[in-house]
Symmetry: D3
Subunit: 237 residues, 6 copies
């Protein structure tokens, strides 16, 4: 895939996941919003970036002991070192809530390396420190036990499930205060453009509704409202 | 039903759902607190008002597409326009967490129309904006996908289940920081009065406990404590 | 069991539950972090103390009515009065989310009596007031209905399950922002010492990672990093 | 809706719900198979018939006592008396597993009145007797407590959810050993015809696979296999 | 408690758990039917007997190893040896489905010792052999891992929860094809008598319904039906 | 891995999964029994064979349509054609219960090709026909919708999770009436030998218990019982 265009990147930074879900629904895609995955920190900028994926399977007691981390090729550690700058590391934890996907040291390393963020359908440890990082981290809350009690990391950059949603390497992940959407890479440009347009219109509609307009004719807009919107748009340049 | 008396309304604004649960338990009603429904915003005044209800069933792909909103009689949109001022719109989402009950535009319209608030056992989208509204909204968190991917709105003002609790049109909904209770309409006056009395007594008990009194004799109060409470009450007028 | 040594107590006040989980994992203990139990308040000091336990079974309508609290020997009330200063009252609610473990008056009494804190795998009522107490309370969120609609308190100071974890009377409970760990009493000293050491080392590692060091050789530390760490330690005294 | 044509009825008696799911999937309908609903008896003929629906909400202790059955207009009892011969009574129990949808007497009355069968997403009581009835009953297993401990029957012949699937009055319900499918009434004829055709072809494919043919070219059939199938069809008349 | 009278025992052998639930509901008891507990074997006689209870908490790796069974006082083994003839061993497994409550050797020992049966809200191992025993065993299906991977047996003959229902030592357990009911000991005689009466009446009602009588007037019976029933009863002696 | 020795294969055909779980527990492996996976048919011989694995991720509407099966390299179809004779096809369905892992045609092809059996943590369609096959199939029950509504098959012969258990290609899968165990390949010989020994001893113990011996001294066996067992063994040759 070619890298995200600056225009698409910029648009995706300012649209909501709600709007993106509607745009993807229009294109027949219903299962795009990750279930049970929330933002740790309270930042306001969206997470945006292509997915680098990592896959876990259930742990086995004889294979998953602390010694495995001596090997720098261990997939969890390697994933941290190979996620390209601007990418989002997306981790398949099978929705397992009883062990951490990772902790402060790994998240810090990802941030230092320039990752756009992290998305996991498992929890993290050191959650309160991670919440202070500049890099957005989305996960299933907090859990103190280390990954090894439940997880064996196996693969990097294969298609995975995360939060019940398919995520292919290179899919564009967008996260806001609501959660995270996975946009198939080939749709990113058009979805971003249409989402930006939809939000502009809804901004106008909300103004009208707040001023007392009824839903009928305003939301969804009828021809008159659409004409008024065009005028409003022109006014603001 | 006659409208809520101003006295009952005032009392319900200041008692907790915990106290209301105890008063309803005394009358044999155990299943009155909505499960999995929390307040989005951090306001301090209670939500209070009679229920206007809306019912959803699972969506069907051929019936539930974006075009349905062109029809202003669509039950979701109509519910927003017919909820009387002072009422609470209560939405049955079958506890479905994977789609939004509604978003900012509908909530704003409800607020402008004077609704007392919204209660849903599904999530909302645009949750961070909704959290800033003056009108209290209780729901099952945040989810970006639009209602149509899971819901087909069918009925307005029929008895429903919400958060596992039966809600009849006109039931008095009360919400505080803990969550939401449904009070059968015919019990509202007496429950409000007894709840206010119970809270006054517990305020006194808490003072005593904080000052070092043991539970025995204080909580629940024995005759001496009750006499002291009467004196305390008199003192404060 | 002898009381916690001041040194162990001090160490446990400053290590994370994540570190404690790792230390217990090293000793073959995987199931030590309570599932679904979070801190209500936002305090920064850890909860630390030996467990005093209370056990609930499901309620029975004829046995569990408001009158039972007239009896000061009722186990829920008695548990509050017998928890020794410095101890943590740990309550087995079978993970039941639909009724409160207790409310503001009982929590206040525990605090006045000097309890170190409360841990329950059920919710509490009056949650927003409890969140303001000086004493840390860990629970499964908020629920307004009183305990009697679901629980019958039966035993004090017997081994229980809480959040899926075995808790024996005298086990050392430690809680931080992530949640709660139960440390078998006989392991408390050595686990506290090793945890403090691990955290000191990780503080150094994090400094290095934040400064741009790669995971390889730094985390886990190779011999060079360990040597540098010793120097760093000496420097700070 | 006009009644089911005899040809469609006959076809639906002999196709599997698996085939019907595939035919509905081809038409964009994914959510048509009821989750958690199985056949009690071991009969071999399919359940087929249009849906008559009944809706339950959660019970309220003061409204749902044994006395309510004195009223022959009670919706649960009335539903039994108004389900037309040949129809399937479909009951929305909100997936509640802890109380029965009904028992032997009601099921017997339905059978005597000529109902085609019963479908519920709750359990039944008297399950072993019901399993011996000539009329097929699909439900969520067995549970002894009467409906009143959890359910308040409210409506007859309104759109409902059952097993997570939308069911509209008149939808064609088909049940086999696997479970139950709801076919939108207007699609019944064409889906029945195509399903019968698909099954005939798959019968041939299975014969070939059992005889050692590889999947490639056989399943799905390529042109040669389709031609051979036409010959095979002709042979059998 | 005095032992069960032979008359009560005989009655309970022939009434259904559905009828018992209705009789207990009449007395205000709603939570009496064990959730998720089914009969392994296909026998037709009811399980009946007073409860001897055993309680498990979650296992701890250092305490729950195979060596513990060397101790004949281990509570699981002791429970098997102390359950009195005619009693039912009821085991609290916290609804844990991932380990067995016991296997063929323990069940055989219980049977040889004269136990009336076993009830557990966990699964068993050796389930197919246990299903062939003369003694009825009710459980949550089959699971091969031994109890020690999840359970630590702690207590015998204390009040427990089983299948979400409170079970006190001496409560009368009754099991049929539907599942298991716990009857508080002091209610056993009257509930058994009324249940037997209710079933006799329902036998008559079912006969009438099967013969074409409508629900109205027959179920529940009006005065005429009750009079006819008395005549019918007299006829049969 | 070398193929299973005939002796190990023979032993594994006759030991129970319960015994295998105990042998693996002795070696520190607790998580080896697949949760929620049962045998469809009622055959008596164990399933035994090395695992060939297949992995699914969640479906995406634009990628997972009926047309994909035209491609014979589609991983689901290819998995069927490459599973070596004597192997078990193990399918990771993420525990998803709402779509089938496969149906009669694929199962028949696997059987014709000599597969030892199939294990999936999802359901199958055509379940009643599959239950009649000579080849054992273990799954999560029955569900009619085709795999494409929920699954996208991605990989063959990678490590997977199935029923919450890690399964590596080549692991020895053993299934009996209770369910399925995954044995790490390198442990198969010793576990099979020890399991056979354990079962022989337990056969003797069961004989003794059935004849009235108490648990103490018999189970677990003390020295005398072990000596008697040796004599009993010799007697039978």
């Amino acid at each position: 895939m070619p890298p995200l265009s600056p225009q698409t990147l910029e648009r995706l930074r300012h649209v909501s996941t709600a709007t993106l879900c509607t745009q993807l629904f229009k294109r027949g895609l219903r299962n795009v919003f990750l279930e049970g995955v929330g933002r740790l920190s309270s930042g306001t900028a969206n997470l945006v970036g292509p997915a680098t994926t990592m896959r876990n399977i259930p742990a086995r007691e004889d294979l998953d002991h602390l010694g495995v981390f001596e090997n720098p090729e261990h997939p969890q550690r390697k994933a941290v070192e190979v996620t390209p700058p601007g990418h989002v590391l997306v981790i398949d934890c099978r929705g397992e809530k009883r062990a951490a996907s990772g902790g402060m040291i790994l998240m810090t390393r990802l941030m230092v390396r320039g990752a756009a963020g992290v998305v996991s359908d498992g929890p993290v440890r050191d959650s309160h420190e991670i919440a202070t990082l500049a890099m957005p981290v989305y996960c299933a809350g907090a859990s103190a036990p280390l990954n090894l009690i439940r997880h064996h990391a196996v693969d990097i950059d294969v298609p995975i499930g995360c939060g019940g949603v398919p995520v292919y390497p290179g899919d564009i992940m967008v996260g806001d205060a609501e959660g995270v959407v996975a946009i198939p890479a080939h749709l990113a440009d058009e979805v971003a453009a249409d989402a930006a347009g939809q939000e502009r219109l809804e901004e106008y509609v909300l103004e009208r509704i707040a001023a007392g307009a009824p839903l009928r004719g305003t939301y969804p807009p009828n021809e008159q409202t659409r004409a008024d919107y065009q005028a409003w748009l022109k006014e603001r340049g």
